[in-house]
């Protein structure tokens, strides 16, 4: 424990000094394609940052680019940390909250940390390249990003700073009574060897069914019934994860942090804990999620969403639960497929999958709420896959010697804690060792920047395809008698419609308004078929036509019969498509 604190202090000093480093002189660097070559803000993307580390980096970016970044706290975590959001757009052009919005977060599962760094990388990349790369400049002129690097800051720190495995605590820090004995979080894992990671316990035992691999002392081999193990070979038994029986109830580590799953807390088809483990009291009873939900509810301009988890190399869409299959209909799946399949190309080794059939069938996930309840196209990426180690799938997922090879060949032995002997209060003499918590799920440092960049590239592709509206054509026809017919074509040249089909089905978001000002409007109508003159008249308030949807890669035509001369303006006002005037 002490050792890890010391190590962290050192890391913190490094962070502090990194901030004081100024940009290099221009003649000292040469641009590598696609990356900011002389950024105002220097960040190392080969290590991870605590909640405070991410907060400091966000502040640094916001301070360096005040016209492009607003840093706001959207609420407080359970332990009282600010939930920092970076709002990124060109704040000097247009009303920021009326631009199509893209929401990004990371780290809902506290041990799944890469989302924090991907978020910071995205903020950094967008700001450092604004004005240099046209794609980025246009993106920030016309869209806004709402990025929350960690939505589980308390337990992110717990994962990093307290003893954990690579898969814990996953929950947040609200204490729960897992074994229903009236005590809360009373039997956490214990870091017997003091290395900051919860690894394995083994014990020499004449009846044990494991032996040490004679070719690799890190590795244990299971003895089969037909194996003939010589009598002088030491047998071992596994005793589970490092820990002691803290509460004296005869069980080890049975009530760790939580347990609840912040990703079973979202309000789409939410179900209680007994139906699928992890739900807390009711939707958004986890305070960090409530902060996000309240923000999203107050920002109907959000059209796309992305959350980052780990691991396995997956680009996931809903439904999360098999029972919710009918929510995702064909028209929307077509859009998910287009973006997801592009993602498979951008993210080698990643597969585009559907949660309920390829992962597990659960209710209350974040991506389901974003889509089902708000009509926002949303993906969850499970960051990192073992494909990345050797750029192939040989060695299999979790199979064979892969982890041991990586430990010795790529990480110089930094991933594995060698077995050491300790005295356990219940088990007597034991040995503790195994892979450390930062190996397996978290991307190793030397590959982290690439991981960040590719996931950002996928996110930007998704964001690019939020609706992009224009008034592409206006035609006038004199009807005689002082009447004029004005026909306007409103185009959307991106994949996403202004209303997902889920949105249309339940009228989640208001219709798009297409209005005309400056003339007297006698009648207004939506043109269904221009050639045959099929129209649907809007009898009430025809100057402000209500259009249910402006389809992706498509258009709508509207028509007014007007009188009066002079200039007129046409305005398209769409919650998710933005505000356009001509």
């Amino acid at each position: 424990m002490k050792r890890i604190i010391q190590k962290l202090t050192v890391a913190a000093c490094f962070v502090a000094t990194a901030f004081t480093v100024q940009a290099q002189n221009a003649d000292e660097v040469f641009r590598a394609a696609g990356s900011p070559h002389n950024p105002k803000v220097q960040i190392s993307f080969n290590r991870y940052y605590t909640a405070e580390g991410l907060a400091a980096l966000g502040k640094k970016i916001a301070d360096a680019y005040p016209n492009l970044v607003k840093r706001v706290s959207i609420g407080k975590s359970y332990e009282g940390r600010d939930m920092w959001m970076l709002q990124i757009t060109n704040f000097e052009k247009g009303d920021p909250d009326r631009k199509p919005g893209f929401y990004v977060d990371g780290n809902i599962h506290s041990n799944e940390i890469q989302g924090g760094e991907i978020s910071i990388y995205t903020a950094w990349y967008l700001t450092e390249n604004y004005g240099d790369i046209d794609f980025v400049t246009e993106m920030l002129d016309n869209r806004i990003f709402y990025i929350v690097p960690t939505i589980n800051p308390d337990a992110r720190n717990n994962y990093m700073q307290e003893p954990n495995t690579g898969s814990s605590p996953r929950a947040g820090m609200i204490a729960m009574d897992d074994d229903q004995d009236g005590l809360f979080d009373e039997d956490l894992p214990d870091d017997i060897d003091g290395n900051g990671s919860i690894t394995q316990m083994r014990r020499k035992s004449p009846t044990g069914n494991m032996i040490v691999d004679p070719q690799d002392p890190r590795k244990m081999i299971a003895i089969g019934v037909d194996d003939n193990v010589p009598a002088d070979v030491v047998r071992y038994e596994f005793l589970g994860q490092e820990g002691i029986d803290n509460d004296g109830d005869g069980q080890v580590n049975e009530d760790p942090h939580g347990y609840y799953d912040p990703n079973r807390d979202w309000a789409w088809k939410w179900q209680p804990d007994y139906i699928q483990r992890g739900a807390y009291k009711y939707p958004f009873s986890v305070p960090e999620n409530r902060a996000v939900a309240d923000f999203v509810l107050a920002h109907p301009n959000i059209a796309g969403g992305q959350s980052f988890h780990n691991s396995g190399g997956m680009i996931l869409r809903g439904p999360g639960a098999e029972e919710d299959l009918s929510t995702y209909n064909r028209a929307d799946i077509r859009i998910y497929d287009a973006i997801g399949e592009k993602g498979e190309k951008i993210l080698p080794g990643y597969r585009y999958l559907t949660v309920y059939k390829d992962l597990y069938s659960v209710f209350g996930g974040e991506l389901d709420w974003f889509y089902g309840s708000r009509g926002i196209y949303t993906f969850t990426n499970e960051i990192f896959t073992s494909f990345a180690y050797y750029k192939n799938n040989e060695g299999g997922r979790r199979g064979g010697n892969l982890s041991y090879d990586v430990d010795s060949e790529l990480l110089m032995g930094d991933a594995f804690e060698p077995w050491k002997t300790f005295n356990h209060p219940t088990y007597g003499e034991i040995e503790v060792g195994g892979f450390k918590k930062n190996f397996g799920r978290a991307t190793p440092g030397f590959m982290l920047e690439e991981e960040c960049h590719r996931n950002m590239a996928f996110t930007l592709y998704h964001a690019y395809h939020m609706p992009n509206l224009s008034i592409s054509n206006v035609e006038e026809k004199d009807l005689g008698g002082g009447l004029k017919e004005i026909t306007a074509t409103i185009s959307n040249d991106r994949l996403m419609p202004t209303h997902a089909s889920q949105d249309l089905k339940y009228k989640i978001e208001r219709p798009d308004y297409i209005s005309i000002a400056g003339v007297d409007v006698q009648a207004g109508m939506i043109v269904e078929d221009a050639d045959f003159g099929v129209t649907t008249e809007q009898k009430v308030n025809p100057a402000k036509l209500e259009v249910a949807n402006i389809p992706g890669d498509g258009f709508v035509k509207v028509r007014w019969i007007v009188s009066g001369k002079g200039k007129y303006t046409i305005t398209v006002d769409s919650a998710k498509g933005g505000l356009v005037t001509k």
């Binding site: 004296g248 309000a267 139906i275």
Partner: protein
């Protein structure tokens, strides 16, 4: 307007006088607060707190009735006002609390009651407003028709009687016709019997936003009883954008989730599984998302229901009005407690004499009008009167219909002793509560400083410590049996701590340990909702 105000003042004064005896009319928020405060100050066994204020600025009250270690005695939560139109539910909850303090305080030795009298205080206030109409929603502005405009098409009191009733428009294209037994009552024409409608039928008001629908987006609000998580009906008026979105819902649930001693919830509201119990359905119970009471729990419901009918004596209950997102189903299906609900009263079925046209389809409005006439309630029906309606120029439009509130909320003198009867029923339920005891505690020497202890863990109650649903839920603690040892004592056989999933009513489970050492050990057993007992045993 003036007349109304005067009446209100009179009511307030009346309210103050009668709190000491028995309220003669339903309480507005202020009167309720006064009544609860005076109850709380009348007894050391009652305490009152406000959990939160609603958006409308009204308190959500919680009364705790209990003595001693209240949070470690088995408890029943009693909840009223889950439906804002149902003021009777508030009254029944308060009368229960008053009855316990006045007449049944001995109950509190073994049981705690948490009483939440009114979960819809923004809505119930409409009963006392200048314009009366049945209201379920709180004060949150909502876009009930999801057209992007908030509260743009409210009711209008077209006939100026201070109430919102209905309006019928004579129109050949309409689908409505008059009821055969009472021409004042409107019903949908039954096309399968060759009937043709001649009326359109709307709530009283104008089509303010000219969308062809009447009053579809008035002062909406979130309905408490539509906004919980069980079978929540997404995107329907009154449900809100997501379950448990409102301050009052969250305040109640947050409180309930800290009360580990609650074994049962009794709700005064539209849902009724007391007149007829919930029925077990194998298909619904075996799906992952459970939609039926579970096997075994239906027997409990059956038992409790039979006690209810025996004690309360109400007959001819209308079909239970269970709805998605309601509270009493949540309390069982998602909170894992034994949950019971009743409206507390309903319009008795009038057995018409030979002069009355038979009410063949048991139309509730026809029955209500007949009952009101029989009881001498003369403001029950607003006779149809013609008005000029600007949305129907040149058409015959009449305003009238059953007066708001009365069908669910009779004049209080009509409920007789139902308050006491329901208190008696809840007392009976408390008498059935799980009660963990350690009995037949024995110790025997096995020699050489070893003692064998045996004890029966006995549930002296009628109800199991854990229903089938309770065994699944994480919100009921296990029955914990723990030995307290000193440093010189050691458990040689048996578990120092064990957690037991269930002990059925009147059932026992034998426990045994081998202990090495001298002196005495203490066995502690129970859970907050079963009571916690301990027993000291001398080692031989």
């Amino acid at each position: 307007m003036k007349i109304k105000l005067m009446r209100c003042c009179a009511l307030v004064i009346l309210g103050f006088i009668t709190t000491l005896v028995q309220a003669q009319d339903y309480n507005n928020a202020q009167q309720l607060a006064q009544r609860l405060r005076s109850l709380a100050s009348s007894s050391s066994s009652a305490s009152l707190e406000s959990l939160t204020k609603t958006l409308g600025g009204k308190d959500i009250w919680m009364l705790t009735l209990g003595t001693g270690d209240v949070d470690n005695k088995p408890a029943i939560a009693v909840v009223g006002g889950v439906e804002g139109k149902h003021l009777l539910g508030v009254e029944m909850a308060v009368r229960f609390a008053e009855d316990v303090i006045a007449n049944r305080s001995e109950l509190l030795e073994n049981t705690t009651f948490y009483v939440f009298p009114n979960m819809s205080p923004d809505a119930t206030e409409q009963y006392f407003a200048a314009l009366k109409y049945g209201r379920s929603g709180n004060a949150k502005p909502t876009d009930d028709d999801r057209d992007g405009r908030l509260d743009e098409d409210p009711f209008e009191d077209l006939n100026g009687d201070g109430m919102i009733t209905m309006m019928r428009v004579y129109d050949e294209t309409g689908d409505w016709t008059t009821h055969a037994a009472d021409a004042r009552v409107m019903v949908k024409a039954d096309k399968s019997k060759g009937e043709k409608g001649t009326y359109k039928y709307f709530t009283e008001g104008r089509d303010n936003d000219l969308d062809g629908k009447f009053n579809e987006d008035g002062q909406g609000g979130i309905h408490f009883n539509k906004s919980l998580t069980y079978e929540y009906a997404y995107f329907t008026p009154g449900a809100g954008e997501h379950p448990v979105s409102e301050l009052e819902n969250r305040a109640l649930l947050d409180m309930l989730y800290t009360k580990w001693n609650i074994f049962s919830v009794v709700t005064f509201g539209p849902g009724n599984n007391l007149s007829s119990p919930w029925k077990y359905n194998r298909a619904g119970a075996s799906k992952r998302v459970v939609t039926s009471i579970l096997n075994g729990d239906d027997d409990i419901n059956q038992l409790v229901s039979s006690k209810y009918n025996e004690i309360v004596g109400l007959k001819d209950a209308p079909r239970s009005d269970d709805q998605g997102g309601d509270f009493y189903q949540w309390a069982y299906f998602h909170f894992g407690k034994l949950s019971f609900g009743t409206p507390g009263w309903w319009v008795p079925t009038v057995k018409g004499d030979s002069t009355a046209a038979p009410n063949k389809d048991k139309n509730a409005e026809v029955n209500f009008i007949r009952w009101a006439a029989q009881e001498g309630i003369n403001n029950a029906f607003v006779e149809w009167t013609a008005i000029d309606h600007p949305d129907f120029p040149g058409q015959k439009v009449e305003v009238g219909g059953v007066a708001p509130f009365l069908m669910m909320n009779p004049p209080l003198e009509k409920i007789g002793d139902l308050g006491e009867k329901h208190a008696e029923f809840i007392a009976e339920l408390a008498g059935m509560q799980p009660e963990i005891k350690l009995v037949n505690v024995k110790s025997e020497s096995v020699g050489k400083g070893l003692t064998r202890i045996t004890a029966d863990l006995y549930n002296a109650g009628t109800l199991p410590t854990h229903s089938t649903m309770g065994q699944r839920s994480r919100w009921l603690r296990r029955v914990k049996v723990a030995l307290q040892l000193d440093g010189n004592q050691e458990v040689v056989s048996g578990r120092k701590v064990q957690l037991i999933r269930n002990v059925d009513g009147d059932e026992a489970q034998q426990l045994t340990w081998l202990i090495k050492g001298k002196g005495s050990v203490t066995i502690e057993a129970g859970a907050p909702h079963t009571g916690i007992v301990s027993s000291s045993v001398d080692l031989k």
